[in-house]
């Protein structure tokens, strides 16, 4: 069966279709290529930043092609500037669509943020106020992306350091309304929830209780740095440069308990460690997923038998 599908995909020049449902994955970094290729079963899937694969050719495409033969890949855009005032850049969107076509990612996501304004690319995920106007614009941009790629995207909740006086919507309501208007799904970044909740002095648990969990198609976990704001209060920085913090693991377990297993990615983008360390973070997420998967199966059996 496996051989048949491999032959089939070779003829079609298409990649194998994997079903990583409810597994844990890790950010794909080129320096981990050999380790992952030698033991692809050690992780459920890998995720790449789309922009790193928007060159014409060369080693990035060669390694991603090899990885895609043995693992499902999720495509995570960081520069679409969906939350920006400017229209979506058509050239960028076309490049994004060609990656979707080329690599057949099992998940596609972008951010509720902006990064380009008036032809300057700031290379960061910048925040936007939550108003009726920005809501309409974000929805328009998501419609455009989804219409172009022919698939729904997952929109990620941001980590933020500031708030806007003019915001009229709670972030969770804003996201819920985007889902309702565009049919997109959500990528729940639990580290971002914890970072924003700490930075703005609200409860991460209450935020999650209000989050439309039924629309979450993927979860992100990552590490953060701790600094201080103007008054010496803790200010957390979404740094992706260290292991996932304990409170984030607790919130994660709470979400999985509530919703059951959801594909989960451990992100690590700076001070990237050797593969065994990143893999062990993904394995830790996998253990939590397994625990609730087992419980869910037992409950299903119980329902069937009673």
């Amino acid at each position: 069966m496996a051989r048949e599908s491999a032959v089939h995909s070779a003829i079609q020049r298409r990649f194998p279709a994997f079903d990583p449902a409810g597994r844990a994955g890790a950010s794909f970094k080129p320096q981990h290529f050999d380790a992952i290729a030698a033991d692809p079963a050690s992780v459920g899937f890998v995720e790449v930043h789309a922009e790193n694969y928007m060159g014409a050719g060369g080693p990035p495409h060669a390694s991603l092609t090899e990885i895609r033969k043995v693992l499902p890949v999720s495509l995570h855009g960081v520069c679409m500037s969906i939350g920006g005032h400017n229209p979506i850049d058509r050239e960028h969107l076309a490049r994004f669509a060609s990656l979707v076509e080329r690599y057949e990612p099992f998940k596609i996501s972008e951010h509720l943020a902006w990064s380009t304004h008036d032809d300057v690319f700031f290379n960061d995920l910048l925040p936007l106020p939550y108003t009726d106007e920005t809501l309409a614009r974000v929805c328009e941009h998501i419609d455009q992306v989804q219409n172009t790629i022919g698939r729904p995207v997952l929109l990620e909740n941001p980590s933020t350091y500031i708030l806007f006086c003019e915001s009229e919507w709670a972030e969770t309501d804003f996201l819920r309304e985007i889902v309702k208007r565009t049919g997109c799904g959500l990528l729940l970044d639990i580290n971002n929830v914890f970072v924003s909740a700490t930075n703005h002095g609200y409860s991460a648990t209450e935020y999650l209780a209000d989050f439309p969990l039924q629309h979450v198609g993927e979860i992100h976990l990552a590490g953060h740095d701790e600094q201080e704001d103007d008054e010496g209060s803790p200010l957390l920085i979404d740094s992706h440069d260290r292991p996932v913090a304990d409170p984030v693991w607790s919130l994660y377990e709470m979400v999985i308990d509530e919703r059951g297993p959801i594909d989960t990615l451990v992100e690590w983008d700076s001070e990237v460690p050797d593969w065994p360390i990143l893999r062990s973070e993904a394995t830790a997420a996998e253990h939590i997923l397994d625990r609730y998967r087992g419980r869910q199966q037992r409950m299903n059996r119980h329902v069937l038998q009673s």
Binding site: G57, H85, L163, D230
Partner: protein, 271 residues
């Protein structure tokens, strides 16, 4: 032209990215109005997180694109110059690996390092290296391709450059300096004032940097510009009387600098 209060409010509300954009790269400017911390408290340090992220991220990107220039200047000096550069010439492409094409010219015009006259060309070569790394994939010209020409037609052969191919000529020892710094600090003293040229290619996946003599540079440059083999050889000889054609043809093949060749047709000759 007058605005109703409604339109004014709308204009104000949509200005968040205008407001950020105007001050993100300028540490002297205030935090934008309407940006606050929780319960309305001050947000200066908070806003500076974005400033730091933007600057730090782009400076890191420049360090990665120009590792030899970073080593030559020392990382601290490089980071200060890179910061000035990105404030003057922020990226317009969303692809970070396309950033820094204007960096060599910026270095050339940066007064405190005028004495490092070779440095802009080293930056050009490093930028060319990364362009080659991301260039489109093409099978390079097969060694047998030239053998397919009838001997009397070989002089009229035209070549299509491989997308990764880049040529750089310098009044300084750009190839030697580049090679010496790509794998760590400089191992020996280099005489920078020797003119050198370099050919960057990526026939398959590995980027290669070849040192060229003056004749080889003019030969390959002429071929890349669409000259026939014969015209390119003449141009090389004009610039470098001891130009050796057979060595240059071997380099043309072995370097993978071209993806195809064909015989010059009548229309080509009219051009």
């Amino acid at each position: 032209m007058s605005y109703s209060p409604d339109t004014m409010a709308k204009r104000h509300r949509l200005a968040y990215d205008d407001a950020f954009g105007a001050v993100l790269l300028d540490p002297e400017r205030d935090t934008p109005q309407g940006v606050i911390g929780p319960r309305g408290k001050a947000a200066n340090k908070r806003f500076n997180v974005y400033r730091n992220n933007v600057t730090h991220g782009l400076v890191n990107a420049l360090c990665e694109i120009f590792p030899a220039v970073t080593l030559i200047l020392g990382e601290q000096n490089f980071r200060m110059i890179a910061r000035d550069f990105l404030r003057a010439r922020p990226p317009s492409s969303r692809l970070v690996f396309e950033y820094g094409h204007e960096f060599a010219d910026f270095l050339a015009g940066f007064a405190p390092i005028q004495h490092l006259r070779y440095l802009p060309d080293v930056a050009r070569l490093e930028r060319a290296w990364l362009d080659a790394y991301h260039a489109a994939d093409r099978t390079p010209l097969a060694p047998s391709a030239l053998g397919a020409f009838a001997p009397e037609r070989l002089a009229t052969a035209l070549f299509t450059p491989h997308p990764a191919t880049k040529l750089i000529a310098s009044d300084y020892a750009v190839h030697t300096i580049f090679m010496a710094h790509r794998k760590g600090p400089m191992p020996e003293r280099i005489n920078a004032s020797v003119a050198e040229a370099a050919l960057v290619t990526r026939p398959l996946l590995d980027v290669r940097v070849h040192k060229l003599d003056r004749g080889q540079f003019h030969f390959l440059q002429a071929l890349c510009q669409g000259a026939t083999l014969q015209k390119a050889a003449s141009r090389a000889l004009e610039n470098h009387p001891s130009f050796d054609l057979s060595t240059a043809i071997a380099l043309l093949i072995e370097s993978g600098a071209f993806e195809s060749c064909r015989s010059c047709s009548v229309t080509d000759e009219e051009d």
